[in-house]
């Protein structure tokens, strides 16, 4: 069985893929093809996500409709800032493929690549 965290992630993805407030039943039916889960399981996890502060909700009849507090892009910005450790110690960041360079340096790099490529196939 897959971990709880994995299910939380799947539910967040489902909520982002839906536009606007979504009922637990809708989330459950979206997840259904990949994960044959009990409705109550989905309800519990959605409620947990709400309690952890990831979701907004509004009352709709007897049930609630939920939607994420922040967009994927908001979290993307937060994660990138954290991973690249913009503020503070640059060497304290996660080891990443390459750091951004300023325009002049990246232009020089592009030119260098062209020189190497030209040297590779002298045609």
């Amino acid at each position: 069985m897959r971990g709880f965290g994995d299910l939380e992630s799947a539910i967040m993805q489902a909520l982002w893929d839906q536009d606007g407030p979504t009922s637990v039943r809708q989330v459950w039916s979206v997840l259904q093809p990949d994960r044959p889960l009990a409705y109550n399981t989905v309800l519990t996890v959605v409620d947990n996500l709400y309690k952890k502060g990831w979701l907004h909700r509004e009352r709709d009849g007897r049930a609630f409709r939920y939607w994420p507090k922040a967009t994927r892009a908001d979290y993307g910005v937060q994660l990138m800032r954290d991973a690249m450790a913009e503020s503070g110690d640059p060497a304290g960041s996660l080891v990443n493929f390459v750091r951004q360079l300023d325009d002049q340096q990246s232009a020089a790099l592009r030119e260098a690549l062209q020189t190497y490529e030209a040297g590779e196939n002298p045609s």
Binding site: L94, V95, A112, Y116
Partner: protein
């Protein structure tokens, strides 16, 4: 006396490493050996200093024979050494804790908010800036911006590079040096080691990635990903780009014009030296302790 010798060993090894390793061509040709050499130098330095302190404190039981003042001084010195050691250990533990916690938070957020791409075995986070990094064991991250600007082969090469970081435990190697830098914030040698190991893990990951992927794909990805995305995104501070610009150009050169690998004999000699070096200070200290004649011989050699 032996302590002075040991401190000289520490100073020599650390100074030699800081001066010699950054420019050594064998380090460029065999980056993994270079990383090992940096670690060997730092461990040797720390071991030599530790042995020197132990050597000063060793005769503390006999100190009573030299009168109460010597007895008191030796005990004060011992207490001081214990206090300093405890402080260093405490700081190390605290720094390690901070790093572990922030890594776990980051990984959890990646897992929760990122989109899984099982076909590439990667998690995609939404950001215009092309980037890729390792957020933990079997948690490779790439931005949507990177997927937008790279072609399939380039993405594969970049991911191979990131997995090489993961397999080589490069993050751990850098984290340990980060902790060393937090404990000893003014040490030039530690700062140089950090910067150099940072450079060498990239070279090493490039080396591993190009076993299965075309160097040109990786080089193209390098160019594409250093360029600032039109959508803005977090621009690295100027100081950081200045420091990494040279290393990135070096990586490009190494990808397109790879140096010949180190001859087997040379690697064997260097590897033996790297293994033998950290053993030297404790061996020296123990030998001088058990054969005092050796100690006096060494002392006579002193200019």
């Amino acid at each position: 006396m032996i302590s002075i010798l040991l401190l000289t060993v520490a100073a020599t090894v650390l100074t030699a490493a800081a001066h010699w390793l950054p420019a050594a061509s064998w380090v460029y040709r065999a980056p993994r050996l270079g990383i090992a050499a940096w670690y060997a130098a730092l461990i040797t330095g720390a071991a030599a200093i530790g042995c020197a302190v132990a050597e000063v404190l060793w005769p503390w039981q006999a100190a009573g024979e030299h009168g109460p003042l010597v007895w008191l001084m030796v005990r004060l010195l011992a207490a001081g050494a214990v206090a300093v050691t405890a402080l260093v250990l405490l700081r190390t533990a605290r720094a390690a804790r901070t790093i572990v916690d922030s890594r776990r938070r980051h990984r959890d957020l990646v897992r929760l908010t990122g989109r899984r791409r099982p076909d590439l075995d990667v998690t995609v986070i939404e950001h215009p800036q092309p980037a890729a990094y390792v957020a933990g064991p079997s948690c490779t991250v790439i931005t949507s911006g990177a997927l937008d600007c790279l072609d399939g082969r380039e993405v594969a090469a970049v991911l191979a590079h990131e997995r090489a970081h993961g397999a080589g435990r490069h993050q751990l190697l850098l984290d340990m040096l980060q902790i060393a830098a937090l404990v000893l914030p003014r040490s030039r040698v530690v700062a140089t080691a950090r910067e150099q190991v940072g450079r060498l893990v990239e070279i090493r990951a490039d080396e591993v990635a190009t076993r299965r992927h075309a160097p040109l794909s990786l080089a193209r990805a390098l160019v594409a990903m250093t360029t600032t995305a039109p959508g803005g995104g977090p621009t690295a501070p100027a100081g950081v780009t200045a420091a990494t610009g040279g290393h990135t150009a070096e990586r490009m050169h190494r990808l397109m014009r790879p140096p010949p690998p180190l001859p087997t004999f040379a690697s064997a000699v260097l590897l033996s030296a790297v293994i033998a070096l950290p053993v030297l200070p404790p061996t020296l200290a123990a030998a001088c302790r058990w054969w005092p004649i050796l100690a006096s011989c060494l002392w006579d050699l002193w200019p």
